[in-house]
């Protein structure tokens, strides 16, 4: 959209927006606000596109990357609206500010009591934006509801103030005909996940409500006493990260975390076969994912 186009399209409504104002002043105001709006929109869009990936950690699952992508898209979508509010405010500070003595009120502004066109455009635009946000959110959300026929089941038990993982005996068929075998039930204190294998977390708590939050997987669900809640993901990138508790759970809430990592599935298989003793083959730490 160019500034010329803006003027032409607005000429007919300028009299409504500012009656009794000479037309060249209209143009000056609209142009000034448009320039500010344009600059700030561009800044907002650039911030959304380039700042977000720097601010957020590398994610180890599609759900995590969906969260990053959502932040980017919503920032870009919101930038023009936020920029307009800021542009009008800034313009009124820079240009129409009363510059005389501040002891006495300036002359009254024009008695504009509203403008059907401006309100209508604003209303329609914000409604369309909301429809878009909703569409985006529901699309992403439904994409995350896919249940893989075969997945690695991990029981997660929260209690004050540790996470315990229970790996039931199971056989998971992997794409490509291979199989992941857990020969006997394993009780673990750290979370290790094979890469590219769908995982189902069955989460519960022994005492109070905790929040099971494997940070870089971009999913979380509360661990409720007496309830089993389920979340699923497919970790698809190798790396270390931390499982934290996202729900205040008492005294040592801050210390309720465990190390986790996504490892190649052969390594995982070998480790499980060996009774899950000792550290699993260390992999490169993902950015922001390590602790201590």
């Amino acid at each position: 959209m160019s500034s010329d186009h803006q003027e032409v399209s607005n000429d007919s409504v300028l009299d409504d927006l500012a009656p009794g104002l000479d037309r060249s002043l209209h143009r000056q105001y609209i142009r000034g606000i448009f320039v500010l709006w344009f600059i700030m929109t561009v800044l907002g869009v650039l911030a959304g596109l380039y700042l977000t990936p720097i601010l957020m950690p590398h994610m180890n699952s599609p759900e995590g990357r969906a969260a990053v992508k959502t932040v980017i898209v919503f920032t870009v979508a919101a930038a023009p609206v936020a920029a307009l509010v800021c542009a009008v405010a800034l313009y009124s500070l820079l240009h129409t500010r009363h510059r005389g003595s501040l002891d006495h009120p300036p002359a009254d502004g024009p008695p504009l009591r509203g403008n059907a066109l401006a309100s209508g455009v604003w209303l329609i635009t914000s409604t369309l934006l909301v429809v878009f946000l909703l569409f985006w959110g529901l699309t992403e959300w439904s994409a995350q509801q896919v249940v893989h026929a075969d997945s690695l089941t991990i029981n997660v038990i929260g209690q004050q103030w540790i996470w315990d993982y229970n790996l039931p005996a199971q056989t998971v068929r992997l794409p490509g005909g291979r199989e992941l075998k857990i020969p006997k039930e394993l009780a673990l204190s750290k979370l290790n996940l094979p890469v590219d294998v769908p995982v189902t977390f069955n989460v519960t708590s022994k005492d109070v409500t905790h929040g099971f939050w494997p940070v870089n997987l971009g999913i979380q669900v509360d661990a409720n006493p007496g309830q089993r809640t389920v979340i699923r993901t497919v970790p698809d990138r190798l790396g270390k990260f931390v499982v934290r508790c996202s729900q205040l759970c008492g005294l040592n809430h801050a210390y309720m975390y465990t190390q986790a990592q996504v490892v190649p599935d052969q390594d995982f298989q070998a480790w499980v076969q060996g009774g899950a003793r000792g550290p699993i083959l260390a992999v490169a730490s993902s950015q922001n994912g390590s602790t201590k």
């Binding site: 022994k206 005492d207 109070v208 006493p225 007496g226």
Partner: protein, 219 residues
């Protein structure tokens, strides 16, 4: 006392006519009942929510709870359902009827006042009925075959009774007030407070009916 102020311009504010007070207080009462009604609705929703969860048919488990020190785990009720089914229903009906009767009697008093007759006998009877209703409610409390610690059904039932008791108590204060004011012949010319008292006491009766119906019918 010297009041040099021109009172003609200051009729409102701190000193309204009965008509103005009626209008204000009726609006306030409607809002209060709306808020109280919401409380009631949420209470009933709580009941249905817990009933839908239905662990152990609403009765406590035999194990102690790590989060609630009040549950020792001992003294687990045997099959209590049969006892419950015969025990509290008739008492609940009596409590509800007595609570509803208070509202009816205040209404009767209001009608008599409107006709220019004394509302005092009806209000006095309402006062007695209110006391009886509270007595019945307290008696039911004491003779229930279960305790607060016996699970979600017991929790809700006792909570309903407590909330009903609080309502009855507020109604009793109002009835005591209008009865005493009636005795002092303060309702000879206007009866708007009697109408407000009637609306409140009838609301208390209706809420008792709803709570009682829910807790009895959906065991």
């Amino acid at each position: 006392m010297t009041t040099t102020h021109d009172t003609a311009t200051h009729e409102g504010g701190h000193h309204d006519t009965p008509e103005q007070r009626d209008k204000k207080e009726l609006s306030a009462l409607i809002l209060l009942i709306a808020g109280d009604g919401l409380f009631l609705v949420l209470e009933i929703l709580t009941w249905f929510y817990l009933r839908a969860l239905n662990p152990n048919h609403g009765w406590r488990f035999s194990t102690a709870s790590p989060t609630n020190p009040a549950t020792s785990g001992s003294n687990n009720p045997h099959d209590i359902t049969a006892e419950v089914a015969k025990a509290p229903v008739s008492w609940s009906l009596l409590v509800i009827l007595a609570t509803l009767a208070v509202g009816g009697l205040v209404w009767f008093g209001e009608m008599r006042s409107r006709k220019g007759e004394s509302p005092v006998p009806a209000l006095g009877l309402a006062l007695l009925t209110g006391l009886v209703a509270i007595g019945l409610q307290v008696y039911q409390f004491q003779t229930l075959p279960f305790q607060t610690t016996d699970g979600t059904y017991a929790s809700c039932f006792e909570f309903f009774m407590a909330s009903n008791l609080a309502h009855q108590f507020l109604a009793l204060i109002v009835v005591l007030g209008v009865w005493n004011r009636g005795r002092k012949n303060l309702y000879a010319r206007n009866w708007y407070q009697l109408r407000l008292a009637r609306i409140w006491t009838m609301w208390v009766g209706i809420s008792a009916l709803l709570l009682g119906a829910v807790s009895i019918l959906f065991v």
